[in-house]
Amino acid sequence: MSEHMKLYEVFIRSRRGLDHKHVGSLHAEDPAQALEYARDVYTRRSEGVSIWVVNSSDIVASQEGDCESFYDPLDDKPYRHATHYQLPDEVNNM
C-alpha cells in the first residue's frame, strides 16, 4: 500500500537553540501519522526535542546543475570576505 501513501520529509531539532535538520523521510497517510511515525523511527535515542514533517512534494529544490545561475558570483567577488582586507597586525583581530 505504501505507493498510495504520501512521502514526508522529517526534520529534527536536536537541542533547543539549534535549527531543525533533515534526517530522512517516511510514508504516511496524513501529517499527524507522519509525526508519530517520525517519532517512532527517528527519535528512539533522544535525538531530538522537536520534529517537523513536510510533504516531500511541497519541497522546491534547486539542482546542482543550476549552480551557475544560482551561485555564479561565488569566486569572482572575494571582497565579500573579511580576509580580503589586509590590516596592520595590531588591529587585525577586528
Binding site: R13, R16, G17, D19, K77, R80, L87, P88
Partner: protein, 322 residues
C-alpha cells in the same frame, strides 16, 4: 475555568518559562511565553530590522560616487548584505506572530524606531569609512552579545549576521586607513568624519543603564545579555587602539586609560542630542522615512503584478487539471 484557576495556571507557566531561561535554554516559536516577552521581542527585533534597511540609505547614496570600481563593488555588496540582514530579522519577528505589513506600517507611522545613527548624513567618502568602522563596529559588539539572546530564531539570525558582518567593519577601516595615509586633505577628511561619527556611534548603545526603559526586564528574560553601558565600554576599549594605529584622534578630551578599572574612561554623551534625534529631529529623520515610504509605495505595482501573475498561473493550472 475560574479566574483563580486561570491565574494559578499562568503563574505556573511563567515560572516554568523563567526556569527555562535561567537554565540557559532557548525559547522556540511554539513554546508558551509571556505576552510581554513576545511584545518586547517584536519591538526589539523589528527595530533592529528597520535599522538594517534604513541603514542602506546613507551608504547607497555613495555607490555611484565611490572613488573606484573596486570600492563601488564592495559598497554595493555591503548594502546588499544589509538588505538581507533586514530580511533575516523580519522573518525572525514573524515567528512571533507579527506580520511584515504591521511592522512596516509601524515604522511609517513613527511608532517603531530604528537606530538613530542613520539620521546623520554621509557627507564625504570618509563617512563611508567611518560608518563601516564605527557604526558597524558598534553594531557588531551589540550583535555578538545578542548571539546568546534567549529567543532561538533571533539568536540564530544573529549568528548568521555576525558571520557576514565581519567584512563590513574591515572594509570601513580600510577606507579610513587609506585616507589617513594619503594627502593632508585626505587625512583631514578622515579626521573630520571621525569627529562627526564618534559621539553618535556611542549613542547607538542607548541610554545609561539606570535610564533605560526596557533594560531590567530584558536582562531578566535574557533578551539582552549585557547592559548598554557594558557594551559601550567594550566598544570604546577596542576602538581607541584602532584609531591610534592609523594616526587619527578620537574627539574626546576626557578619554584616558584607567589603570585601576582596566578600561578607558570617556566623556559624557550629549543626551539632549540623543533624545532630539531619537524623537525625530535629527539632521535626516524626515528624509530617511520619506524615502522609505516612497520606495514602498513605488514598489506597490511590483507586489500587485506578482499576485496577479500567481492568480493567472493558478487559473491556468486549474483549467488544465479540469
Amino acid at each position: 475555568m475560574t479566574t483563580e484557576h486561570h491565574e494559578q495556571d499562568l503563574a505556573a507557566l511563567e515560572q516554568r518559562f523563567q526556569a527555562r531561561i535561567d537554565a540557559e535554554e532557548k525559547i522556540e516559536p511554539k513554546d508558551w511565553m509571556p505576552e510581554k516577552y513576545r511584545q518586547n521581542l517584536i519591538r526589539q527585533i523589528s527595530q533592529h530590522a528597520h535599522s538594517e534597511v534604513i541603514g542602506m540609505q546613507p551608504e547607497g547614496n555613495w555607490i555611484t560616487r565611490a572613488p573606484s570600481l573596486h570600492r563601488k563593488c564592495i559598497l554595493l555588496a555591503k548594502v546588499q548584505d544589509e538588505g538581507g540582514h533586514g530580511l533575516y530579522l523580519y522573518s525572525s519577528a514573524e515567528t512571533l506572530g507579527a506580520s511584515r505589513e504591521e511592522m512596516i506600517e509601524a515604522l511609517h507611522a513613527g511608532r517603531a524606531k530604528y537606530a538613530s545613527i542613520f539620521n546623520y548624513p554621509a557627507l564625504t567618502w570618509a563617512d563611508i569609512g567611518a560608518i563601516g568602522w564605527l557604526v558597524d563596529g558598534a553594531a557588531i559588539v551589540n550583535q555578538v552579545s545578542l548571539q546568546r539572546t534567549s529567543y532561538g530564531p533571533y539568536a540564530r539570525g544573529m549568528v548568521r549576521i555576525c558571520k557576514e558582518e565581519s567584512f563590513h567593519q574591515r572594509q570601513g577601516y580600510h577606507i579610513m586607513m587609506t585616507l589617513a595615509r594619503g594627502s593632508e586633505e585626505q587625512k583631514a577628511m578622515a579626521q573630520d568624519s571621525l569627529n562627526r561619527f564618534w559621539w553618535p556611534s556611542l549613542m547607538m548603545f542607548g541610554p545609561h543603564d539606570a535610564e533605560s526603559a526596557h533594560s531590567a526586564q530584558s536582562m531578566k528574560w535574557k533578551i539582552k545579555r549585557q547592559s548598554n553601558d557594558e557594551l559601550r565600554q567594550k566598544f570604546v576599549d577596542q576602538t581607541v587602539k584602532q584609531a591610534e594605529v592609523i594616526g587619527l584622534t578620537i574627539p574626546d578630551p576626557d578619554l584616558q586609560w584607567n589603570e585601576q578599572r582596566g578600561h578607558y574612561d570617556f566623556g559624557e554623551i550629549d543626551w539632549e542630542e540623543f533624545t532630539r534625534v531619537i524623537n525625530g529631529d535629527g539632521p535626516c529623520n524626515r528624509q530617511r522615512l520619506a524615502h522609505h515610504v516612497r520606495a514602498h509605495e513605488e514598489g506597490q505595482w511590483v507586489r500587485d503584478a506578482i499576485t496577479a501573475h500567481e492568480a493567472k498561473k493558478r487559473q491556468r493550472n486549474d483549467r488544465q487539471a479540469a
